[in-house]
Symmetry: D2
Subunit: 338 residues, 4 copies
C-alpha cells in the first residue's frame, strides 16, 4: 500500500501516519519528494483496510499495490492448470467447444442438437434447465426434468454436460446430474452460491458479471478455490457498455489478461457476448484467434422457435461451418482442436 | 411490437411476416413508407418473443413498444403507494431517513449509533449482519448474532431495523428479526432470492444493480410483487461507469423516472453512491432536492476503525449537520421530514 | 511515480530499474516487502513517461501518484477564484443562472426569452449560433447573424451573453460578440480550439466531454490556462453510460470533486444532463443542493417548435417556478442567488 | 417514426397527434392495441424532429425507425466500396496493414521503421506529426517537419503515408503531404474538421470516438461524404468503459455491424484499442479473424524510448511475427494479405 500526502501536509501529519502504520505492526517507508511526500507500507501479509489511512489529516490518496487473490493467481501457481470435465481436458494447448441450446425444451430438441454438435466436433453439451430471466413472466426452464434430459443425452452421445445453477437448491441438483456447474453472469458475486460451488465436487464454469472488472472475476474464483475446489474455468461473455449495436460488448482482451494473471483456463461465449446470431461466427473466430481455451456457443435446431434467446442461437448448419473455421484458426495460434 | 422491414424487402417477405404474426393469434398492421415498410403488431396480452421475427428474411429490426412490468407500474396503479416499515411510512409527502453502520460490529457500536441517529431525527436503523464482500478474506459479518444486536437496539431505541439478506438461509433469519429486508445491488437479479423475498412477509428494500437499467430494476421488483408482496421500496445507489473519482456514479435522474413509471417509493443511498465520506453530505442534499422519498446513510461512531466501508461512513456529528440541511431542503420541494 | 515489481523479480531486475531511474536524474526508493518489492521515485518536476519502466523485465505495474495539472489546481492556488462574465461574478458564495434557447432562431425568439429569464432572475443569456449536430442534415445554427441577435439582446436587456464556438473561425467571432466563449462537450479535447480559447481574451465555459474523466476535464482547463487565460468555468453536463432512461447520466458528484481539486467555479447543465424536459426542474434543484456555482438551462418560449433540442427545453413558466425553488435551496447550502 | 400513446390516452389526444402529423404533410397510421394505441408515421423523406410529438398530451414515447445516414449506407449503395490510398486498395477481399510509430521523432527513426515494416509486408506507413495530447506539457509532435520526414520516407520506401490532422491548419498540410488524412477519436465529432476533410481531396481514415455509438460513427462519415468525398475508411480503436485492465475496450463486433450497415471499409487499431504492447499481437489476430479490412498498428524500433505511447508500440521483431500469424488467419476467413 502507498499513501500519498497532500502538498501542504507537514511533519506532524506525516509522523501521525507513520505511527498509525507502526501501530498495525507494519513498516512505513517515507519518500519526501519535490512536491509532496509519499509513504510506502511493507510487512502486510494480506489486507490492511485503506480506511485506516484515507481519512487521516494530510492524506490525499491511498493506493493499493498488490492484487488480493492468491489461489487463482499465476504468481502463486506458475504452470497453467488443466481442468477436466468428464474426460475432456480444458486448458493447455487443446481447444474445447461447448455447444447446445440456451434452454432445454424437450428430449427431441436435445437429442437432435447433441447429435449435430458431436458430429461437428464439439466436446461438451450445454443447455439450461434453470433459467435466470429478467421477467418473471418468461419461461424459467424445465428444472430437474431438464437435467434428466441432459443426463440421458450424455449417455447416448458420450458428451459431458454443463448447465447453470441459480441457487443452492438447483446447485445440488446440477452437481448431481452434470459434469460441470455453470455460475452465470448475474450470480458472479452471489458469494453464498460461489462458496457452495466451492464445495460441490464438480468443476465450475464461472462467467464474468455484466459490469465486473477482471480483478473481481478473479476474486469470485478465489471464493470457489478457497472452499477447496481448484477446478475453475473462467468465461468472458461480454460486458455492459453504452454501445447499442450488440446486446453486450465482448471484451476479448480479457483473455490475454486472465492468462497472464491466472493459471486457470478461460473460455469465450460469443452468443451472449453479442446477442445476435449473425455476429456469432465472426466473433467465434476472433475468440479462437485471441488465444482462448475454448468456446461456449448456443446452437438450436430451430432458433426461430426457441423458448429463450433464439436470436443469438446459430443453426446446426451454421455451427458446422463455424467449427471448420475455428479449427483452422486454432492451428495458426499454436493450438489444436481437442 | 413493431417490425421494421429492410428497404429491399419485397411483397413476399412482408406477407410472410404478416402470416407469422397471424399464426400467433395477433393482428399485423402494414405501414408502407416512402423508403420501407413497417408492420405494427397488436392483440398481444404479454410477451411475444421478438425472436420469432428478428431472423425472418427482409426484417431489419424489431422494436418493443410496451414495458413488460405490470404490478409495480403506475399505469396499472395510478396512486402512489405508501410502504410501512414498523410504524414508519415510506412514500407520500413524508421523508424518511435510514442510518447506521455498514456492518454490525458490537452491541456498544450499535447502541451508540442508534442513540445518535435517533436524536438527529432518523427513522430507521440500518446495519449489515450478512456482508457480501468482494474478497473471501474480508470480514463477512456477524450473522445471526448481528441480527440479535439489531433487534435489541430496536427495543431499546424504538427504531425499526433494515438489514441485508444474501441468500435463502439469511433471508429467513432477516425476515424473522428485521422490519425490512434489504436485497443488495449484487443480488438485484438473483431471481431465486427475489421470489423468496416475495414470500417473506416483510417489506423489501431493493437496491439497483451496478449495471442495471431502470427497466431491469422495475422487473426485479415485479418478481417480488408477483409472489404476493406489494411492499417494495426501490433504492438508487450508484452505477458503474468509466468515471474514476467516485466509487460509483450516483444517478439521481433515476428518482423522477421511477416516480413516473411506478407507484412505489424510491430512496437514495449516497454512501455507496459515492464511496467517499466527504461527498455524502452534498449528495444527500442533492437527493432530497431531486424529490426522493428518503435516504439511507452509513453512520459510524468511529469510521476510521470500521470493519468495512469506513471511508464512506460519516460521523454522528456530520450526520447531525446533514440532517438539518436535508430537512430544510425537503420543505423547499414540498415534503416534510417524517 | 511508484514501480511495483513482480513477485519473482530478482536483485538484478530491481537494480536495473533503479539505474534507469537514476539515468533520468531521479531518486529511487527501494521498498522490499513480504511478497514483492516496490520502488518509489522522487525528484521529478513533472512528467516522467511511465513507458520508460513499464516494459522493463520484472516490472508488474507503474502507478502515477501526482496529478499533472497545476494552473487550475487548488494545491497551487488555494483560494477559490471568481470569474467575471460581463459584470456578473461566478464563484464565491453567489449563485448564477444562465438561460436561453438551445439555438438562436430569430430576433423575436431571443427577445421573448431574454425578457422572461431576466424577469425570473437569470443573470446570463445563452443561445447557440453555431450548433454541433450529429447529422449533417440537421439545422446548423444561424452563425454570425445569430451572434448579432444575441448582442442586440444584451444591449436591450442588460444580460451578458454566452455562446458556443466550434472551430477557430467561429471562436474569433464569438470572442468578438459574446461575453463568454463556450467550448462544448464534443470539443473538450479539441486541443487546438482550447489553445485558441486560451488566447481569446474572454472567459471560457468549458463543458465536460461525454466520456471524460474529471482529471481530463482539469487537463483541458490547463490547456486554456497555459495560454494565459485564467478565466475558466467548468460545466458538468452528463456523461455517457449504459443507462437508457435519460440522454446522459448527470454526475453531480463532479461538483464537490472539482471544488476540492480546483480553485475554479463549476456549473451544472441539467438540460443536456438529462435530455428530458420533465427532469430539468428536479435535477436543477439537486444541482443547487450539491453546492455548484450555478446552472445553465435551456429555455424556449415554444419548445415544441424548437429547431433543435426542443424536448429538453423548459418553458418560461416552468423556468419561473424552477428559479424560486433553486433560490430557496441555495440559501440552505450557504449561498445566495446573485 | 412511431408514436406510442399512454394507456390512458383518450380519443381526443390520439386525434390531436394525428392532426399534428398531418400538419407536417405526413400520414398517420393508427394501431389500437389491447392496452394502448400506437401511431405509425409514413411519408417523411428525412428528419421529422421527435420534439414535435414527445411533449404532446398522452404521448408516452417516440421511436425512430429509420437510420438517418444515406451516403455511407449499404441500403443506398449495395456493393462494397474499395478506397485507394496511393496505389493500395482498401476493401474487397484484400487485407491491408498500416504500421509505424505513434509520433514521428526523427529521420532515422522513420527510416528504420519504414524499412522494417515494408519488409514484413505492411502496405502503408503511419506516424503522427500533430499529436493530440491530454496534457499541454506533453510532446505535441514535430508538425510540418514531421510531415516532410514522412514524405521523404514514402519516396525512399515506396509506402503511401497516413497521418493525423487535428485542426484546419494541420489538415491543409496533411492533405498536401500525405496519401490519407486521419481524423482521430477525439475529433470524430469535430464537425468543422469533418466538413473540411470532406473537401480535402484525399481519402480519410475516420476513427471511432471514445464513447461514440456506431450510428454516430456512420453519421460522422456522412459529414465527410456529404461534402463530396466518398473515400472514407472507418476504424475501430476501442471505447471507454468501466473495464480497467486495458486502456480502452476494443469492440470487435463493430466490424460485422459496420460491414452490414455500410459499403465502406473498416480497419482495427489494436494498439490504442488495448494500450498494452503484450495485447497487440493477440488482438491483431482476433481483428483479422473477425473479418476486418485491415489493421493499423504502432511499431517503434525502441519503444521504451518513444516520445509518446511507447507502452503500446510493438518492436519490429514482434511485428514480423504478428504479420505471419495475421496473414495465415486472413486466408481462413476468405481474404488475402494484399
Amino acid at each position: 500500500m502507498l499513501i500519498v500526502m497532500d502538498m501542504h501536509a507537514g511533519p506532524a501529519e506525516i509522523e501521525a501516519v507513520c505511527n498509525e502504520i507502526r501501530a498495525h505492526g507494519l513498516i512505513p517507508h517515507e519518500m519526501p519528494g519535490a512536491q509532496r511526500t509519499a509513504i510506502g507500507i511493507t510487512g502486510n501479509k494480506g489486507s490492511v483496510e485503506a480506511a485506516r489511512f484515507e481519512s487521516m489529516r494530510g492524506v490525499m490518496r491511498v493506493i493499493h499495490v498488490t492484487a488480493p487473490y492468491k489461489l487463482v493467481s499465476r504468481e502463486f501457481h506458475e504452470d497453467s492448470s488443466i481442468v477436466k470435465v468428464g474426460n475432456v481436458p480444458i486448458g493447455g494447448t487443446g481447444f474445447v467447444v461447448m455447444a447446445g441450446p440456451c434452454a432445454v425444451e424437450s428430449v427431441g430438441q436435445i437429442d437432435e442438437v447433441a447429435e449435430r454438435i458431436k458430429k461437428a466436433g464439439a466436446h461438451v453439451l450445454r443447455g439450461g434447465a434453470f433459467k435466470p430471466r429478467t421477467s418473471p413472466y418468461s419461461f424459467q426452464g424445465m428444472g430437474l426434468e431438464g437435467l434428466k434430459i441432459l443426463a440421458a443425452a450424455r449417455e447416448k452421445h458420450g458428451l459431458p454436460i454443463v448447465t447453470e445453477a441459480i441457487d443452492s437448491e438447483s446447485l445440488d441438483q446440477v452437481a448431481e446430474y452434470a459434469d460441470m456447474v455453470q455460475i452465470g453472469a448475474r450470480n458472479m458475486q452471489n458469494f453464498s452460491l460461489l462458496k457452495r460451488a466451492g464445495r460441490c465436487g464438480k468443476p465450475v464454469l464461472l462467467k464474468r458479471g455484466l459490469s465486473a472488472t477482471l480483478d473481481e472475476l478473479l476474486m469470485a474464483g478465489e471464493y470457489i478455490a478457497n472452499e477447496g475446489n481448484p477446478n475453475i474455468v473462467f468465461c468472458e461473455r461480454g460486458v455492459r457498455t453504452f454501445a447499442d449495436h450488440t446486446r453486450n460488448t465482448l471484451d476479448l482482451s480479457a483473455v490475454p489478461f486472465i492468462q497472464r494473471m491466472s493459471h486457470l483456463p478461460i473460455l469465450v461465449d460469443p452468443s451472449h457476448g453479442t446477442g445476435k446470431r449473425n455476429k456469432v461466427p465472426p466473433l467465434s473466430c476472433a475468440a479462437a484467434a485471441v488465444g482462448c481455451d475454448g468456446l461456449i456457443i448456443e446452437v438450436h435446431p430451430h432458433p426461430d422457435a426457441a423458448m429463450s434467446d433464439g436470436p443469438q442461437s446459430v443453426t446446426p448448419d451454421q455451427f458446422d461451418d463455424l467449427m471448420k473455421r475455428v479449427a483452422a484458426i486454432t492451428t495458426v495460434v499454436g493450438r489444436h482442436m481437442n
